[in-house]
């Protein structure tokens, strides 16, 4: 019977159906958790970009987010409201990385010029090289930057170069990631600047 052509087809069909059934089951069970994890990653990145996540547990992060963060129109960017007054913005910076999409937030003070910090909720760059954009050492460089008013609000310069107020050092060995990060950050910052004009009058 094993040699009959219909047996091979039926066997393959049967085993595929069975294994798919199990996988779909598992996916359904974990779907809610996966979605929550993704949302939490975004909330954590927003708060990290605004320097509010330090030493907080996941629960505290969620609570702080609900308390202090308001979405801006378009749902991409957020603003931080503390004691009833505006205390900062979290601008979503997202786009193509070297291997896969990079997504993160840049925190800005209410003056829209001074950077509070940067954080990422999504990236699949090379571990040890491009993925170092998530390391504290790289991210710390962004704290206190003054955005340049030109078309390049932030620039990533080669390691060792002398820096101006809107520039940071790149990661050696991760040129592609840094080039793309610079591009996507500037693209989104420029877009936010343009749209922020309308929001000012609210």
């Amino acid at each position: 019977m094993r040699e009959k052509p219909w047996y091979a087809v039926a066997y393959m069909f049967g085993i595929t159906a069975f294994l798919s059934f199990l996988i779909i089951g598992l996916a359904r069970v974990t779907a809610e958790r996966v979605r929550m994890n993704e949302e939490l990653a975004i909330e954590r990145a927003v708060l990290q970009a605004l320097q509010l996540a330090e030493g907080k547990t996941t629960e505290e992060i969620h609570r702080t987010f609900v308390e202090k963060i308001e979405p801006l129109p378009g749902n991409d960017n957020y603003r931080l409201v503390e004691n009833g007054s505006l205390a900062g913005y979290a601008v979503r910076v997202a786009g193509k990385g070297y291997w896969a999409p990079i997504g993160g937030f840049i925190g800005l003070k209410p003056d829209r010029q001074t950077v509070i910090g940067i954080a990422f909720y999504e990236q699949s760059e090379t571990p040890g090289l491009g993925a170092e954009i998530t390391s504290p050492a790289f991210r710390r460089q962004f704290q206190g930057l003054e955005l340049s008013p030109g078309p390049q609000p932030i620039e990533i310069r080669p390691y060792g170069a002398e820096l101006e107020r809107h520039q940071v050092h790149a990661i050696s060995g991760a040129t592609q990631t840094c080039t793309r990060l610079e591009y996507l950050v500037n693209e989104d910052l420029n877009r936010w600047r343009q749209s922020a004009g309308g929001e000012e009058t609210r």
Partner: protein, 209 residues
């Protein structure tokens, strides 16, 4: 037919997987992932755990199904079984260990293409009883893990000055970090040296094939 065909003792299966027939330096299988995930020790550890799990489970399943699987579609069935376990691992990581899932990125999915798994399913599990097949899978996974760690430790130490992310004395301060060690060429150099050393310790016996 198969070099392992028939009645191997457990002891021999264990030592074959770990050393005599080690998948990495003896069979030169699974080199793609050996090169890709060994620049940080933590990623390597989780990758090895995932691979060992998938390998043992796949070998067990393929062995259980071996009497029902028509020979001409056995490879399709093996790929399906392997993919099934990889997706399970991937989904579980996403749900319950999201940090590690992001750190490993696409590598978990790439376990499917790891030649060791298909190699062991085809060479051993397809012709042996379930329990020896699972033991074989497990120890081949362990043999792979040991080699990967042997490559990952010097790469992270010399390239980043740390081990498991902890800065090491001397290497994180005085040592001028060899960035090339954490880049792809570093993997080639280290792998070549390790294969060289291992084969020097135990030269290939050119006996009856």
């Amino acid at each position: 037919m198969s070099p392992n065909g028939g009645t191997l003792g457990t002891r021999q299966i264990v030592f074959d997987g770990l050393w005599h027939n080690n998948p990495v330096f003896r069979q030169i299988l699974g080199i793609c992932s050996t090169l890709a995930v060994t620049n940080l020790v933590l990623n390597t550890l989780v990758m090895c755990a995932a691979l060992t799990l998938v390998l043992s489970a796949s070998c067990l399943t393929v062995s259980l199904l071996r009497r029902f699987t028509p020979r001409n579609i056995r490879m399709m069935v093996q790929t399906l079984v392997i993919a099934f376990y990889v997706i399970i691992v991937d989904t579980s990581l996403k749900g319950y260990w999201p940090d590690m899932s992001t750190a490993l990125g696409p590598y978990v999915g790439l376990i499917i293409t790891n030649c060791i798994i298909m190699g062991r399913c085809e060479a051993f599990a397809g012709t042996n009883e379930p329990v020896p097949a699972m033991i074989d899978g497990f120890f081949n996974g362990l043999g792979y893990s040991i080699l990967l760690l042997a490559i990952a430790l010097p790469r992270e130490l010399l390239g980043m000055g740390s081990i498991l992310g902890f800065p090491m004395p001397y290497f994180s301060t005085v040592w001028d970090k060899w960035i090339i060690m954490v880049m792809p060429p570093g993997a080639f150099f280290t792998l070549a040296v390790i294969i060289w050393v291992c084969r020097a310790i135990k030269p290939r016996e050119e006996t009856a094939a």
